[in-house]
């Protein structure tokens, strides 16, 4: 589902959209859309990574009787990507309700992913019982504070933010002062031409606050990112593809591998959405992100299971 796109060359965009399933990449940079056919020679600095999100290991509800199967299929989809992704980013809700053994089961499943490394940020399901203790024991290596981190790859600066450790009565996703100060210092040394990719669980921008689909102090982080020429924000939490372009910042929410959720306001509540059997696999999947060095741009390709 696409919303609030900058209406530049809309006809061409709709053509690109129709072809997306057959391997045409579309890229948005500064509000301008361009397309590249797959198979064009990759330059040395180019790379691909994959995003997987909301695996909810332990989920066994009506919306998907075989979440373990759709997880396995999602891993197969990542392994089918050409070229092989340099790394994978998991944008949270690894487990469903921190169920006993769920972190172990996911780790076991993800051993099948053919990639160098997997980076994680937690979702609220991963931290609500113990404030993140179990999550950090497993995935906190190399991170700071509540699990935030940054790294550079081929000149692209990646930032993982944690916005699920501030939950209390009446207050949902937020980054907090300590993390925002870390982010300010982390970005300070980077020049505005450095492409930046931010990954986090809850959408940084207000997709639908009534359902908790927002980060209370997300605007403060976005303000720090505005001076960069290319910023891509990847998140999970809402179990559907949802995009927004705001100047040089593009936001992309991802599908879950476990169950879909309704579009904002399309149902009374955001709970797991049960759909026709044939429809489910279209609504689950992973995402491929390709970075090309020249011109520097990121192309997002959604990879649904069907």
């Amino acid at each position: 589902m696409l919303t609030e796109l900058v209406p530049v060359d809309r006809r061409r965009f709709m053509q690109c959209l129709a072809w997306a399933g057959t391997g045409l990449l579309w890229a948005a940079r500064g509000g301008l859309l361009s397309s590249t056919a797959l198979g064009e020679a990759a330059a040395a600095g180019d790379f691909t990574f994959a995003q997987i999100s909301d695996t909810h290991v332990g989920f066994a509800g009506k919306a998907n009787a075989n979440a373990a199967g759709t997880l396995a299929d999602s891993i197969a989809a990542i392994n089918a990507l050409e070229p092989r992704p340099a790394f994978v980013i998991h944008t949270g809700d690894l487990t469903h309700g921190q169920k006993a053994g769920a972190f172990d089961m996911l780790a076991e499943s993800l051993k099948a992913v053919r990639t160098e490394r997997i980076f994680y940020v937690p979702g609220e399901h991963d931290v609500f019982l113990d404030g993140g203790k179990e999550y950090l024991a497993r995935h906190g290596r190399g991170t700071l504070g509540g699990g935030w981190q940054s790294f550079d790859y081929h000149g692209v600066h990646f930032v993982g933010l944690v916005n699920v450790l501030t939950y209390k009565a009446g207050v949902g996703g937020a980054l907090g002062a300590e993390q925002l100060e870390w982010l300010r210092q982390d970005l300070e040394a980077r020049g505005p031409s450095t492409p930046v990719v931010v990954f986090t669980h809850v959408p940084l921008w207000a997709v639908y606050p009534a359902w908790g689909w927002t980060t209370a102090d997300g605007a403060a982080a976005i303000a720090m990112l505005r001076r960069f020429g290319s910023v891509t924000v990847l998140n999970g939490h809402i179990h559907q593809v949802f995009q927004k372009v705001d100047g040089s910042v593009t936001f992309h929410s991802a599908r879950s591998t476990a169950f879909p959720q309704p579009a904002p306001g399309a149902a009374p509540t955001p709970g797991p959405m049960t759909v026709e059997a044939g429809e489910l696999r279209r609504l689950l999947g992973v995402r491929e992100v390709r970075y090309t060095e020249s011109p520097a741009q990121l192309a997002i390709v959604e990879r649904p299971l069907a």
Binding site: Q98, E124, Y167, P270
Partner: protein, 109 residues
Amino acid sequence: MRPITWTVTLAAALALFTGGADAAPPPEARVSISQFRFQPAEISIAAGGTVTWVNGDAEEHTVTATDRSYTSPGLEEEETFSHRFTAPGTYRYFCALHPHMTATVVVVK
């Protein structure tokens, strides 16, 4: 038993139990979690009484004290959680997964 006799008997029993015109809060109470809301949002219970929550949503919810003094695990659909309240007071709680869901237990002596 004829209906009128039964009603009088019940009223007498209630009067004995409550000791007067104002009904005391019950020793047990049930809260339903439904449509992402705790229903009722405020419930009264006698000190020493137990509240039982039942999750009627397909989504997982928790019952978590705002001061974190107690919490349920994640409750799947139809799962229940009970907590005994010993001291009088007003106790706010929320769902740790959907924190805009808030409610109150009022514990009366």
